[in-house]
Symmetry: C2
């Protein structure tokens, strides 16, 4: 690991000022320190990149540091470039239903400011308090409401970005539709800081729903689970906002002796679903929701159900879904974020469980996920402290994904962590094309080098 | 204009067979004839492109020939490549809610086959009977339901494409979420056949709605119009599927003496809106819809309303919106497809009308559009047969778009027709980046050359 040239640091300090260039931890409090540029404007980001480009200095863009795939890990003497001083919500336009923000705005702040204007920015995920809009865009974050409102890319109308050489790609307009040449925006979204640095964005906001209806239901088998999803999608007229499934192993762990949660529904079924609708008429929506679930019960689509009757009951149900930190009691523990066709999920989970049982003495495999999106989170505690365990676990998870034409990353991205498995979901021709695109955007290879794929 | 080398034609005939290589009209029945390859499989598309790549032979991919921006116009001795023999709907997967089709499937066939399985493919536009899925993808088609279900790109889960050199980019899996490197799919969508030839796609389908509720309403001014849009979006709980606005000039023309349509609502208001919701419970939805409009009337958001009481009444209302062919009675006539922030639409339309009045003796300017998407279609009959009229009209339309950071093409694309105006919506840095991407995908420049932008 080399060092950043003193002359470059001096030039950067001239552009950024004393508080604009600091030594601090890169990826989190426990991470080793390095130089981090903290530009306060798009122009300062551009000036920083121009200096780095001229000097051949590699740069790692930094958002809220909540990523899960080591996309901020240094592989050399990279300069960090944090958007933490660019936190302005620049405009809310209720007529056009847009919100213009700087990249460093935390997701939760964007949500809250939208709410203050009677609007909703529907992206939502556990790290909302710290994750930034820029980071959400760089990783194309997903979350709990993709089924209805899509991923981050579906909520970004336009973005401004700084390229490797300091060129500023300007913010386009506020209209949803814009078919003027290649969609550079969609190429930048999800590129994990390797093609450009997102500095501002125009977000699509929606009218704020007036009701949230939430229930926990139990379902005996996979076929019925998919029928219940189709039923809810078909009957809820577009108001279905979440369909989060907990496999019984995860449900029994997260509501068991080792955690503070009580099971809202008795054990004994194969699947537990947190289902949620959002609507415009609290009274009517609550009645409709109860009727929908009642009818599902009569059709034997669900075996049991608990409907949240208050805001605190709703939070308690969601907490069961979201409290993944409880899993850290198990060690070693490996977590995965895969996607595949819904129709193949049952045989996928059967296969990996069988293979873990064959490979380890007492493995725990827990699964939950955004079923409607084809996205499963698989948690594996192999119960074996051997050094090769991680790799063995990965091979089982990803091999069964590859044979089903699935994705080794549904929503977390590739970063460094999954680079070795990118070829399980993308073939050599696709990766070759990605390299050419990287070369077109960043010929010197200074933006987040070594992430997603190697350039050579 | 040169000719295609006889040796290449012979090689192509070996790959494609006698019926696979014909001389026929390119862009439509009235267009001049040329050689058109008609591959019957992805492998034949790949073999065709490999031969053309080796020979440096330019190729224009051809879908349903319903495009509106001269994207099929030849600028030299291009070979046409039509997907018309690749019309298989390969699979419907109701569990994963996907549909796998070849690119040559007409949109309406895809819609109908989805319906037969109790599902809906929500893309819809006037040319549905002829336009193909491949063409819809190549142009990122929009249409009448973008507000709820998005543009074509939002309905494509994965696609297979053949690159300029014959490389086949494989179909990815069926899951909605896939964050594995750069999104090549979104780059190909809307690239108008200049980066690759779409051969197959996995489409996202939805449960088929069981009710369609449709009304025509009249609104006195623009501020109220945007309030009514917010009201409908907020109160309809996600079931609002269309919000199509007719400016009074267009409404009065399309229901006037020159056409077979009768005005469903008396003249005298500034805007007329076709508003539609789709839901799951015909009886309840009809009541809800009536109540919604009644409440809007009480809040003075609408001045008048007619609700369709039958399928035939619904069709009659939609026909008023869709029967743009009536406009062809005016000549010369120029049509535009622009987008901009909803909040700026009123001053945009005022400005262009003022400028047309200043420039021409008796101009007719008619406007309708997908208001919620920021998309206006502007129809101008300048009433002046001078040769320079088209250019003068374009300058007025696009100049006022440029100054509002709008888009010269909301949904039709650029093709040849708008190439000269691409720079009104994309700056030089963006176009330079597009050229680099083109170079990375198609270094010989053989795919639909001269469209969107010039390579040098």
């Amino acid at each position: 690991m080399g060092n950043i040239a003193p002359a470059l640091l001096e030039d950067l300090r001239k552009v950024l000022g004393e508080t604009g260039l600091i030594e601090a931890a890169f990826a989190g409090p426990a991470d080793s320190e390095g130089w981090i540029a903290r530009p306060a404007s798009t122009e300062e980001v551009a000036a920083t990149m121009k200096l780095c480009h001229d000097a051949g200095q590699p740069v790692i863009p930094i958002g809220g540091r909540t990523g899960l795939v080591q996309a901020l890990s240094r592989t050399g003497h990279e300069l960090g470039l944090s958007l933490e001083r660019m936190r302005a919500v620049e405009e809310i336009d209720p007529t056009s239903r847009t919100m213009t923000v700087q990249a460093g705005v935390p997701l939760q702040i964007a949500q809250e400011i939208a709410e203050e204007h009677g609007l909703m920015f529907p992206l939502d995920l556990g790290a909302r308090g710290t994750a930034t809009i820029g980071g959400n865009i760089a990783t194309n974050a997903g979350g709990n409401r993709v089924l209805r409102w899509g991923m981050t890319r579906d909520m970004v109308i336009a973005l401004e970005a700084v390229l490797a050489d300091g060129t500023i790609l300007p913010l386009q307009g506020k209209a949803l539709k814009n078919n003027t040449g290649y969609d550079l925006k969609h190429l930048l979204i999800g590129s994990e800081g390797t093609l450009g640095i997102v500095t501002r964005a125009i977000l699509r906001v929606r009218p704020k729903p007036k009701s949230e209806n939430c229930a926990f239901v139990a379902i005996p088998n996979f076929e019925t689970l998919t029928k219940f999803l189709s039923y809810m999608e078909g009957q809820s007229s577009g108001s279905l906002s979440s369909f989060e499934v907990l496999w019984s192993d995860y449900y029994e762990f997260i509501t068991g002796d080792m955690t503070p949660h009580n099971p809202p529904i008795a054990y004994g079924q194969a699947y537990y679903v947190l289902v949620e609708t959002m609507g415009a008429d609290p009274k009517k929506d609550a009645t409709d929701f109860e009727e929908l679930l009642g009818e599902a019960f009569e059709q034997e689509l669900i075996a049991d159900a608990v409907i949240a009757k208050s805001e605190s009951e709703r939070h308690a149900l969601w907490h069961i879904r979201d409290d993944v930190l409880q899993l850290w009691q198990l060690s070693p523990l490996f977590t995965f974020d895969v996607s595949l066709a819904i129709a193949q999920m049952d045989n996928y989970t059967s296969e990996i469980k069988r293979r873990f049982d064959e490979t380890f003495d007492n493995p725990q495999v827990m699964i939950f996920g955004h079923l409607g999106d084809g996205n499963l989170h698989v948690i594996v505690a192999p119960g074996d402290k051997g050094l090769d365990t991680h790799h063995m676990v990965e091979e089982i998870i990803y091999d069964a994904i590859r044979s089903r034409n699935g994705s080794v990353s549904a929503e977390h991205g590739i970063g460094l962590e999954k680079k070795g498995y990118l070829s399980y979901s993308r073939n050599a021709d696709e990766i070759a094309l990605m390299r050419k695109i990287k070369q077109a955007f960043d010929p010197k290879g200074i933006l987040n080098p070594g992430k997603i794929f190697d350039v050579d």
